[in-house]
Symmetry: C2
Subunit: 329 residues, 2 copies
């Protein structure tokens, strides 16, 4: 059906080796052969089968990307950055999402490994203790973590703990003393834990007792009533720090619907820096991360690693504080 290098060789009246050379090292082929091959390629509509090439070369030019979800624009933006950089480095992207589930992480990693991707860009639940990451190291498969932050692994992230502390300090500076933190399940995300640490740091530095984190499912579409009760009841906090912008948006919606005024009755601070937050009313204040950059830089570093064989260190990118109507009038 579809033409192979053999057909081209026959059509052009040369050997398959010459065709291969004409394709890969044109300078080592006579002009006559070169043009005969080109003509044959055009006539047959030949396109090189990358599978054959990959098997032979033991390299695929594929980068495996594993992210929790694309419904959170944080990861979509990051993936956009990865894809951009991958294109520049002439790699292709194989995508898998895990929805914060360990079984899907495992399945994805296994699949990517079997597909013999040249390298991986991953966000995992817990970078520090992760049997599969250890396995990647054993196999010396180059990989970069994004969003995860962990001394022992190559990561591209912001300094989650410091960033969270700085964000909470903004709330403290505005006079808040009763500040709650809402987070996705700590057990499903080391970043969530680090951000909680940062919250604790800032509270303690101000001589306050940090509250327990109020956990909620990362992918839930709304707040559980119990949580809404705590945020609107008599003992409610005057400010809420949310572990990510998606949660912050859910909280804002629910509290506004309950008739609370933001920021007068309660201030809201997010984490991520989603663009869309700026368009909300009030505009969402947030600790911002350079999401597309995180992806792009991770891909660039992975490319360097793949090129040089040299494992690269982690990269901490600067975070920002975006002030907005949700924390001050």
């Amino acid at each position: 059906m579809v033409a192979t290098i053999k057909d081209v060789a026959q059509q052009a009246g040369v050997s398959i080796a010459t065709v291969s050379r004409a394709l890969n090292t044109p300078d080592r082929v006579s002009l006559a052969a070169q043009s005969a091959v080109q003509a044959a390629i055009a006539a047959l509509g030949f396109r090189p089968n990358l599978i054959g090439r990959q098997l032979r070369a033991d390299k695929t030019g594929l980068i495996g990307v594993m992210l929790p979800t694309l419904s959170n624009p944080v990861f979509a933006e990051c993936l956009q950055g990865i894809e951009q950089a991958a294109l520049a480095a002439n790699y292709r992207v194989l995508l898998m999402t895990t929805h914060y589930r360990a079984d899907r992480e495992q399945h994805a990693l296994e699949t990517l490994l079997n597909q013999r991707v040249d390298g991986m860009i991953l966000t995992v639940a817990h970078a520090a203790q992760h049997a599969w990451l250890d396995r990647l190291e054993d196999l010396s498969v180059p990989y970069m973590l994004v969003y995860n932050q962990c001394d022992a692994r190559p990561c591209v992230s912001v300094d989650n703990r410091a960033a969270a502390a700085q964000g909470v300090t903004e709330l403290l500076l505005r006079g808040h003393r009763h500040i709650a933190m809402i987070s996705g399940q700590l057990q499903a995300s080391d970043r969530a834990q680090q951000r909680y640490q940062g919250y604790c740091d800032a509270m303690r530095a101000a001589g306050l007792v940090p509250g327990e984190p109020l956990e909620i499912d990362f992918e839930s579409a709304d707040l559980p009533p119990e949580l809404v009760g705590r945020l609107t009841g008599p003992d409610r906090p005057t400010a809420v720090f949310c572990g990510n912008d998606r949660l912050a948006i859910l909280v804002m919606r629910r509290l506004l619907a309950r008739g609370l005024r933001i920021p007068q009755d309660v201030a809201i601070l997010g984490f991520d820096g989603l663009e869309i937050g700026e368009l909300l009313a009030p505009a969402l204040a947030t600790v911002s991360q350079p999401n597309a950059d995180i992806g792009a830089r991770a891909m660039e570093r992975l490319h360097g690693w793949l090129d040089s064989g040299q494992r690269l260190a982690s990269l901490v990118l600067p975070h920002g504080i975006r002030r907005g109507g949700s924390i001050h009038a």
Copy 2:
């Protein structure tokens, strides 16, 4: 380094054929051999090289997905749906984005073809006349278009023209007579053209003269001043229909910043049904599409095609009208 089927065979004291069978058709292998092979696999940490399998089978289990951008959540949500359905059907996703550029469309299609994906899910600029799509048909590579809507091709989409007309009719019902349409470049998107047609249909049905479309780059981060001038000047429209939600959000922001009240001074209607629009103030009214479903259904149909060899017809999914504060108080 990494174990192959040969190593497993040696370790287990059987032939490579038996190993292969133990992997693929365990029932055709004796229990003794089976367990010897399993032991060897575990001992060596063997994982089957899919590249070898793919070359042999002339099937990759890969689905090529080509979308304009992931910065627009419409496509991220769609991709999420695709990925979900691909997982269920045991396919993997190879992702490329085009940023509405013809050269990148071409490059992506070429790459996917060379990588021998089993099928493709695509959004192209213009489905009707598209040389590469014709090429796919010639090669009988199964593909499904998403968002594009075109009689001659297999598409999963809403009825763009009817949906747009229905949306504009909502504005007409509220007494608007001077309704402008803002759109991404018509030349880069057949959907944009169809939606403009729908706008024209509704206007004419009301005895009004449709305006020329006001074009703006799909990926621009803000409105050009010239356009802002037209929307705020003395002859400004009382309602604006935007070809997608992202544009609508930009327009809302700009006009609010200029001191216009929405919807009293100007009503805004979007197209896409992004969730986030509900959280804006005022909430964005929009013509909604089932984005994740569009992706998932496209993948399911592609799977059917791949399974049966039977090309499947297009699927038109229902759209919705989401009323919101941006068109009525």
